[in-house]
Amino acid sequence: MKPTASHLVKSQTKASSGIAGFDNITGGGLPLGRTTLLVGGPGSGKTIFALQFLVHGAQDCDEPGIFVAFEETSPRIIANAESFGWKLDELQEKSLYFMDAQPSPDLVQSGDFDLGGMLAALESQIKEMGARRILFDALDILLLLLPDQTAIRREIYRLHEWLSVHEMTGLITLKADGDQTSSISQQPFGFMHFMVDCAVILSHNVEFGVSQRSLRVQKYRGSSFDENESPFLIDWSKGEGTTLVCTSL
């Protein structure tokens, strides 16, 4: 029996995302204390979705968040967020921390490295502000510096294990390379789809000149969810900053 949206039971093992439609589809939001993978092409709304998740947590659910940025610098992210009416600098004092982890372009590399430093720095930050949510935006930028596949896999498992030990609700955004046809395991970080507890795919294509944004929950361990692709739109007009209004059918 296909689980329709109405049968989903709201349970407290879920972290509300602040996006009504998405909470509806997943019966409450992202898995609490687990890791979610957010995959999408360029401009598919990954960072916006993730930022809204953090802002909602910080503002309304009393769950401070940390944004670990590997690609865009935090001043630029904060400036872009202004257009959604999110006053991030006010939040920044106590409940939303931005960590700039962009590798510098003239970085010299000699041999293998690991994410120990970042996790140690994050740990002290989490203790200090009691963070409950954490986002790794464009993690692939850092992972591609690792010398080989085994090092990449090792570091991802280290991160995943660290997230579960700290019972953080983790969100990792990842670039989907163009062709969805190649099977998941061929993609450079394909195995992450198998590792995480929840995977959400955002897509943005144009049909007959009309832009179509859609969101699909690919997997969600421990909960039923609406498996269909639901259209969503990014609503710039609302001053209050609700951005993704999922119209789940």
């Binding site: 960590m99 700039d100 982890a101 590798p103 510098s104 970085l107 010299v108 590399q109 000699s110 041999g111 293998d112 490295f113 690991d114 994410l115 120990g116 430093g117 970042m118 140690a120 720095a121 740990e123 002290s124 930050q125 850092l142 510096l145």
Partner: protein, 116 residues
Amino acid sequence: MTQHQIFDFRLYVAGDALNSAQALANLTNLCRIHLPDRHRVEVVDVYLEPKRALADGIFMTPTLVKLTPSPTRKIVGSLNLMHPLLLSLGLAIQGKRIKTAYKIKRLQCVVFSVIS
């Protein structure tokens, strides 16, 4: 870069992780060969001083920072690839001179053993 310039290094390590231990060994080895008694090394363990890792923007361990002589350089990894390391520390040219010094020394030994 004068011959007597003191090299100030700071090596960020993550506890007893394998990469970090290798980096420390490689760095000590490099200083002994290339910078005999003109180097200072400070080792910072990010697990013991996480605040410092955060403040100095250290996310990958091990990370070697060459403080002096300027410009400061950041090298990430277990430092087992000698060439990029020497190059970025500006020791590569010296590296060649030291290689020739080795050759001369070896030649002297050969000649010495032939004579005696």
